[in-house]
Symmetry: C2
Subunit: 84 residues, 2 copies
């Protein structure tokens, strides 16, 4: 892999994985007062569209990364709705 | 634009714009107890790498979307560090 591919791959891993510590924290603390419902509503919808974009364009990395992110985002969104 | 391009464009707009309501909420309330420092550290770094990926690959939409997201993510990260 060249530097451009390594940068893109690292970027995808980091932005996808970043939602895991937030999901864990939200599940453990149920502290959602500072979390924006509007953010996670837009973000979950956007991630669903990224997944569909990956599906339509036969782009497996985009599909997988956004499927994982969508799961984390939906967990946070459900906790925000349940414990606001 | 075809359906694939519209889906990708809508996805990019939504995932980028979603961090604005979170940044506004965080600035207004300074309530960062439920926000994960680890998430925003990884996410800001990942968004910076996406920006560099856009720069290296001459992809202006990727650069612009991630520059905007990086600003929002850094605001939230600074508030999290300052008001945790």
């Amino acid at each position: 892999m060249d530097i451009v591919a390594i940068t893109g791959f690292s970027a995808a891993i980091l932005t996808t994985a970043s939602f895991l510590p937030q999901a864990i924290k939200t599940i453990q603390t149920k502290d959602t007062s500072g979390i924006s419902l509007f953010m996670y509503s837009l973000f979950a919808l956007g991630t669903l569209l990224w997944f569909l974009f990956g599906l339509f364009s036969y782009n497996m990395p985009v599909m997988i990364a956004n499927a994982v992110t969508l799961v984390f985002a939906c967990i946070i969104l459900v906790y925000k709705i349940k414990y606001r």
